[in-house]
Symmetry: C2
Subunit: 424 residues, 2 copies
């Protein structure tokens, strides 16, 4: 066999039995989002490299992007993420269309990564954004979407957790404590890695990245505190943080009012990306044995900065469908797709029975059923075997008697019963 | 503005208002296909170049394909069509899974063509295939799918036509009349271009490509005949075409039995691609002013030849969603997407009304409605204006009275009426 029939490494073929599950997962997600009035968008897979060089993370573009030169000599990238494209699209309509915009998409994205469990080189990524409003209610809506998403798959609240933080609050805190821009960067960098580095090695790394001892001490104090009221107390010491404090307090109260017990303040959640300016959050699977980041997002203020001075504020999150499906599977909540009540319509005689069987199939479809016209030949017993092997539960038999009587004999393969049903 | 906010030439952004229409079109198509028991599949966008070099048309791969070298130094192509991928996938399962396979997909495909009306460089292409059966009933099913597709969009039968021919019959005819392999190729090549070349120039082109005068005369005779019974008479002169003649006669009878008046034999329909071996067909828009090929397909016998000796026979067609949507639009049948009965849930007081409004929104969603939590502030009149501008027909108002009474006031923006509805 000179040709391999396997897909590229890190990519997946979606056979009908796979696709049925993906469609169920994506359909459930889309249904939940639509009920909140989110609308679907889509965009070309190919974008200019320069857009992503300007707007995406350096790692993505330099190390992971699939790049090509088209026949018009333009350097293009297969999008590794959707946000730069979203920015490009929104900039086309943000002057005319009344806000806010609630948009979602489930694009295929592409990253050349080392394939591993939960990571693919081609993957579907849900993108959800609420743009054109910066109120605390929009922050809250993201958490309500997460809660709704989990509930729509029947996932128990004990099985997940939202960890949140606020980049605006952190920036104020660090600025007030004299952190330089480089030291702030180091601070975030260290927090982003605290769970990935062995505790005994973290001290040395911290000393190297953040040489100032009092600031390192604050990092320790900060990380040790998981109480949002302590964070608020620190903030209140700083002049001109009244509005920010009020916002965080209101957010805390709202979380209580809507009973979002699964959302907790977390000093370790800061999100790697530079463009977040407000609330940031990460959703974790938290089963007995599972403890894993599933997806996350946050608020950004400069989505349109490549195109205009419009400081459109938005909040959103991105979620890999594949990693979420693995989580559903581990939790025993991956939708099961049953064969359904499809009917195999089997002609048993010559051309006349075939023509009548075509009518029977058509009538069943008009009544909302799925009807397959059978191309099998042979005896009824053999047909039943084939039908069962393919997951049919019903076979509509059309022989000479049925043609004469303008009826079909519906065999139920589960119960074994058979009844003659007149057509129409 | 240093960055263009437009998509690449020949590609389209799908804003929510575009996507809603695409989804309606694709949903209608998928619904029809599912009722015939077709199942959706999907596959990676990226495939090895060598697969397409071996399996696709030379023009596609050499002149139109988007090619890239990945970071593992593999030469990949963004699929310009789906069939080679379908072959790769089916070869993985054709030994285990009981046949036939009815599969469909609506993948994005990529071709670097000169952009023009009806052609895009990135496009969605419906692929429908019935594989693992070579009966005349499977041939017929393709036409029934076309008929069902047109009917499901409310298109009148007078607005379209299926033109069909049979490559097996043609091959027998040409072989019997002494056409060499090269002459057969020239014969097909000329037919494929007869509608594209000016009639006065066609003679000269024909003389050049097919120098043998009697064969050229047969080409003329063949093209002048639009009666399938004449084709059958020619076939009957040839030894060992009994089965073929029987099949074509049965097919003709079946078309009559199921009243497929819109399917006509056409000598000019041969399809450019080499891999067709039986029935070929093209669907035409035929309005008063429109006369245009929409899509086509045919039967093939060697789908799996790169992977095995299994002579799996199949029949299928490919249809560009964009060109089909243009046809629907011209015929006034492109689905219109109404704003629907979404509700804007508007808190009118402080935090308490916001919290209660969140409950109202949640209750509406639980009842199957689309409910948007409003981030607008200001007076009721201004809110109604904003709601109307965004296409809402209903606003649920939640003020202090409503909080106290545990109710919401539902304003109908069309009729102007307002009623108080208790929650739950």
């Amino acid at each position: 066999m000179p040709f391999s029939n396997q897909p590229q490494k890190g990519m997946q073929d979606d056979f009908p039995w796979d696709m049925a599950v993906h469609n169920r997962v994506m359909g459930t997600i889309a249904g939940l989002l639509r009920s909140f009035h989110y609308e679907e968008y889509d965009a070309p897979v190919l974008e200019p490299l320069e857009l992503f060089a300007a707007k995406s993370s350096e790692e993505l573009v330099r190390e992971q992007a699939y790049v090509l030169r088209d026949r018009g000599d333009r350097e293009l990238v297969l999008r590794p993420e959707m946000t730069p494209t979203l920015a490009r699209m929104v900039s086309q309509i943000s002057r005319e269309r009344p806000r806010p915009y609630r948009w979602y998409s489930i694009p295929k994205c592409f990253r050349f990564e080392r394939p591993q469990k939960g990571r693919l080189r081609e993957f579907r990524q849900l993108n959800v954004d609420l743009m054109g409003d910066d109120s605390v209610h929009s922050d809250l809506e993201m958490f309500l979407l997460v809660k709704g998403l989990m509930a729509s798959f029947g996932l128990a609240e004990a099985g997940w957790r939202i960890r949140w933080n606020h980049r605006g609050a952190l920036n104020a805190l660090l600025g007030h404590r004299g952190f330089s821009a480089d030291e702030q960067k180091a601070f975030y960098w260290l927090i982003d890695r605290v769970d990935k580095i062995a505790p005994e090695a973290f001290g040395a790394t911290a000393a190297e990245k953040l040489p100032d001892a009092p600031k390192r001490a604050f990092l320790e104090t900060y990380l040790a505190n998981e109480d949002v009221s302590v964070l608020l107390a620190w903030l209140r010491e700083i002049p001109e943080t009244g509005e920010l404090c009020g916002r965080l307090e209101a957010f805390q109260r709202l979380l209580g009012s809507v009973r979002l017990e699964r959302a907790v303040y977390s000093p370790r959640t800061v999100r790697g990306l530079d463009y977040y300016t407000g609330l940031v959050f990460e959703v974790y699977a938290e089963g007995e044995s599972i403890h894993r980041a599933l997806f996350g997002g946050g608020r950004y203020d400069k989505l349109l900065d490549l195109y205009s001075n419009d400081p459109l504020s938005g909040i959103g999150f991105g979620m890999g469908i594949y990693i979420f499906s693995l989580f559903l599977e581990e939790a025993g909540k991956l939708p099961k797709v049953e064969a359904g009540d499809s009917v195999l319509v089997q002609p048993l005689g010559g051309e006349e029975s075939a023509v009548f069987a075509l009518q029977v199939a058509e009538a069943l479809r008009a009544a909302g059923r799925v009807a397959e016209f059978s191309v099998y030949s042979g005896g009824v017993k053999k047909v039943f075997q084939k039908a069962e092997a393919r997951g049919f539960t019903q076979v509509a038999l059309v022989g000479d008697d049925e043609v004469r009587e303008k009826a079909y004999s519906l065999k139920n393969l589960k119960t074994g019963t058979q009844e003659k049903i007149p057509l129409g």
